[in-house]
């Protein structure tokens, strides 16, 4: 039997079938959003249980280094731009630009993670000393962990791209990694705002 001809709607559906890795990454990002949202909710919930949290929540004597943390946020935001540059260049098969953009993006990622480590060293807050310190380590640690996964994912997809996958059809894996990168930065900003600005 001969297959009936495609209707316009069927043709559209066939053309728009997304890449498996991109969809799977979308699911992972959805899960990550719930993870971050839950962490923030728990943090604020515990903070809410404290009487006069504005003065009693963060232990006295702890000085939060706002300058490096704001720099970390700015660096992370910049990395979103360079990450998008990766996709832009890859779609146009500009391999040189693609790998330069990947390199800069990963460098920015390492930089903002390094600044978070620096901030915790500067604060000299010990884990296990107060409820706030445990939660701050938990939320910041999760942001750093998500950032490391994003770096690893982008590096892995860069290797694939190095093997020749690019162009309008071959960019999906890199685009998936960049989507996760955007999520990791937004997650970091949300967690930074809750832990170090709202406190």
């Amino acid at each position: 039997m001969t297959a009936p001809a495609l209707t316009p709607a069927e043709e559209l559906a066939t053309r728009q079938r997304p890449n498996s890795l991109f969809v799977a990454t979308g699911f992972a990002v959805a899960g990550g959003v719930m993870l971050v949202a839950a962490l923030i909710a728990f943090y604020l919930g515990f903070r809410n249980e404290i009487s006069d949290p504005d003065t009693n929540w963060v232990p006295r004597g702890i000085s939060i280094p706002n300058a490096p943390l704001v720099m970390a946020v700015v660096t992370a935001v910049l990395s979103m731009i360079t990450a998008q540059w990766v996709v832009y260049a890859s779609r146009r098969r500009e391999r040189g630009h693609t790998f330069v953009a990947i390199g800069i993006t990963i460098l920015f990622g390492v930089a903002w993670i390094n600044m978070v480590f620096f901030a915790f060293n500067f604060m000299e807050v010990g884990i296990g000393t107060t409820q706030w310190s445990n939660l701050a380590y938990t939320l910041s640690g999760m942001a750093v962990a998500i950032g490391m996964v994003a770096i690893g994912f982008l590096a892995l997809m860069a290797i694939r791209a190095f093997g020749g996958e690019d162009g309008p059809e071959g960019t999906a894996p890199l685009a998936a990694a960049v989507m996760f990168w955007h999520f990791s930065v937004l997650a970091f900003i949300a967690l930074w705002y809750v832990v170090f600005v709202v406190k």
Binding site: E10, A24, G31, M34, L39, A41, G128, N134, T138
Partner: protein, 579 residues
């Protein structure tokens, strides 16, 4: 309809180069059918272990004045272990196994998306599940006395959840990106649709549990400042094991029932879109993560209680709608369907789930009113709901095994043993829920035994002064015993069918089924399909007469086994689907 389905080789054909028949092949396979079988068999074994642990707990509750079989600390550990094994070791992986095996075949995909990730999902679940059990052996787990064991438990449970999430993502990506080019998502078979809904709901609920596990781990390892140490673990996570979250684990069960009933009716599912929407709504109702963010006892009252009522009511309405659609399908067939184990188990699963959702909705509504001293959902009323949902999933699994066993193992399961398992599961679910429900409603028998460390030795005080609590607990224990017997009967049936090859080999389509997997040999050859079918409908094998709702379709199971069997069913499908 399909243009072509070209898989002609059976299970004994030449293996693909990267597949091996030896045990190494099971470690390295990238064939979704093997991965699905791994999940199915292992999950059944773990399910039996979980039911045995739960039975121990229920037996202990029959003697309220003393911890009869188990001491106080061990009781708490076994209490949680049984829930872990039943939910994350048994029910979820069992249904995931069906999904990994069946869904790619149903939607015309050559394999599952990311087959190595799916394999990693199984072995990750297997390894971390083993670590979880091992953590109890060194006195860990919630209520455990060994700090390292408790930490190991937390990490292992996180690993189990991540592994199951990975498998769910593979199934969801398969449905969304690898189905036949002209097959729309809303035309996919109901089981594939239910697998997609399950994956989506797991993706928005399990991460909340992971966030809690990270917090618990940090707090438990460093200072134990605000989560009550090992006594706070289960309190934080117990929403994972109760309704509405339990409904998420039951979504594929609805999909399996929705596959069986139209086949036995010999006609197209009536109100097909309604069925899809109802399964989706049932999944939305399982948004237990919303409830987890509220602290008890506020959980049951105020706006959070109202949310709880809304979610439970949505689940109840969804199940009522589904039962209505399935009833309409059975009526539409205009003939009495054969009362095989698959159909009976599917109907029983629907009925038990109706009771479960009604019971949970009533409990949440009563608690929202706030007239009781002890919230109903803080009593063994919750245990009753758990038993009913678990029983419904088990019944659906019996239906699914009876229905898909020809496709998975190449043979039909023995009908008498399947019927016995069905009866044991149905009786076990109802009996196992009735006792705890009455004990909870009338005698306030507590669900959570250990609210805080000071209560470890006072459970007897909580229940020994109320009448007949022991007797109702004994009924619950008897029900659990029957559920365990049902799993044992399923296992025996599988051993006879798979290992001892009792019964004749099944035909490609012994049921006169409707979905694409039945156009392939039973079982399909290992490895990806050589040529993919071009599906435009989720029910390509549905005969035109049946699709139009007319009489004349073959009755399931008529003359279907052995060589040349099943031809009637194949003829029903018409010549459009060469097998």
């Amino acid at each position: 309809m399909t243009e072509a389905t070209t898989e002609t080789a059976g299970a004994d054909s030449v293996l693909p180069p990267h597949e091996h028949r030896n045990p190494i092949g099971w470690l390295t396979t990238s064939d979704h059918k093997r991965i699905g079988r791994l999940f199915l068999v292992t999950a059944l074994l773990v399910l039996a272990g979980g039911l045995a642990c739960e039975l121990l707990v229920r037996i202990d509750l029959t003697d309220a004045e003393d911890f009869g079989v188990l001491d106080a600390d061990t009781f708490g550990q076994i209490f949680v272990l049984s829930k872990d094994l039943l939910v994350f070791g048994g029910l979820v992986p069992l249904l995931l196994g069906f999904a990994i095996y069946v869904v790619p075949l149903q939607i015309g995909a050559g394999n599952i998306a990311f087959p190595r990730a799916a394999l990693a999902s199984f072995w990750g679940w297997f390894a971390t599940g083993g670590l979880l059990i091992a953590s109890y052996s060194i006195n860990g787990g919630p209520y455990g006395g060994e700090a390292e064991g408790v930490d190991l438990y937390i990490l292992a449970l996180a690993g189990v959840l991540l592994s199951l999430l990975l498998g769910a993502i593979c199934v969801a990506a398969t449905v969304l990106t690898m189905r036949s080019p002209r097959l729309f998502v809303d035309d996919t078979p109901p089981f594939a649709w239910s697998a997609l809904v399950t994956a989506a709901m797991l993706m928005v609920t399990f991460p909340v549990a992971l966030a809690q596990l990270v917090m618990i781990y940090i707090d438990h390892r460093y200072g134990r400042l605000y989560l009550d140490g090992n006594y706070g673990i289960f309190q934080q996570l117990e929403w994972l094991y109760r309704t509405p979250q339990l409904y998420v684990y039951a979504i594929p069960a609805l999909g399996a029932v929705a596959e069986v009933i139209p086949v036995w009716s010999g006609t197209r599912q009536q109100q097909r879109p309604v069925v899809s929407y109802a399964i989706g709504a049932f999944g939305l109702a399982g948004f237990g993560a919303a409830a987890s963010l509220a602290n008890e006892p506020v959980y049951f009252e105020d706006y959070q209680g109202l949310l709880n009522v809304g979610l439970h009511a949505l689940a109840l309405v969804s199940v009522v709608v589904l039962l209505g659609a399935w009833g309409a399908t059975l009526v539409r067939s205009r003939r009495l369907p054969r009362l095989d184990a698959a159909l009976l188990a599917a109907l029983a699963a629907g009925f038990v789930l109706l009771v479960a959702t009604a019971l949970a909705a009533f409990g949440s509504f009563v608690d929202w009113l706030g007239n009781r001293d002890v919230p109903l959902l803080a009593t063994t009323w919750t245990s009753a709901g758990q038993t009913l949902v678990g029983g419904a999933v088990l019944l659906a699994a019996i239906a699914a095994l009876a229905y898909w066993s020809p496709k998975i193992w190449g043979r039909r399961l023995g009908e008498p043993l399947s019927l016995l398992a069905l009866l044991a599961a149905l009786a076990g679910a109802l009996l196992g829920a009735f006792g705890p429900a009455v004990a909870g409603a009338l005698q306030d028998q507590p669900y959570l035994v250990f609210e805080d460390p000071n209560q470890t030795s006072t459970y007897a005080d909580l229940v020994d002064d109320v009448g007949n609590a022991d007797a109702f607990s004994a009924m619950g224990a008897a029900g659990l015993g029957l559920l365990l017997a049902a799993v044992a009967l399923i296992g025996l049936n599988l051993v006879l069918c798979v290992l001892f090859r009792v019964g004749a080999p099944a035909a490609a389509d012994p049921w006169g089924a409707q979905t694409a997997e039945w156009a392939l040999p039973s079982p399909p050859a290992m490895g990806p399909l050589d040529e993919l079918p071009d599906l435009v409908d989720g029910t390509p094998l549905l005969a035109p007469t049946a699709a139009a709702g007319e009489l004349g379709t073959a009755s399931p199971g008529e003359g279907t086994d052995g060589d040349g069997a099943g031809e009637g069913a194949d003829e029903q499908a018409g010549s459009e689907v060469p097998v």
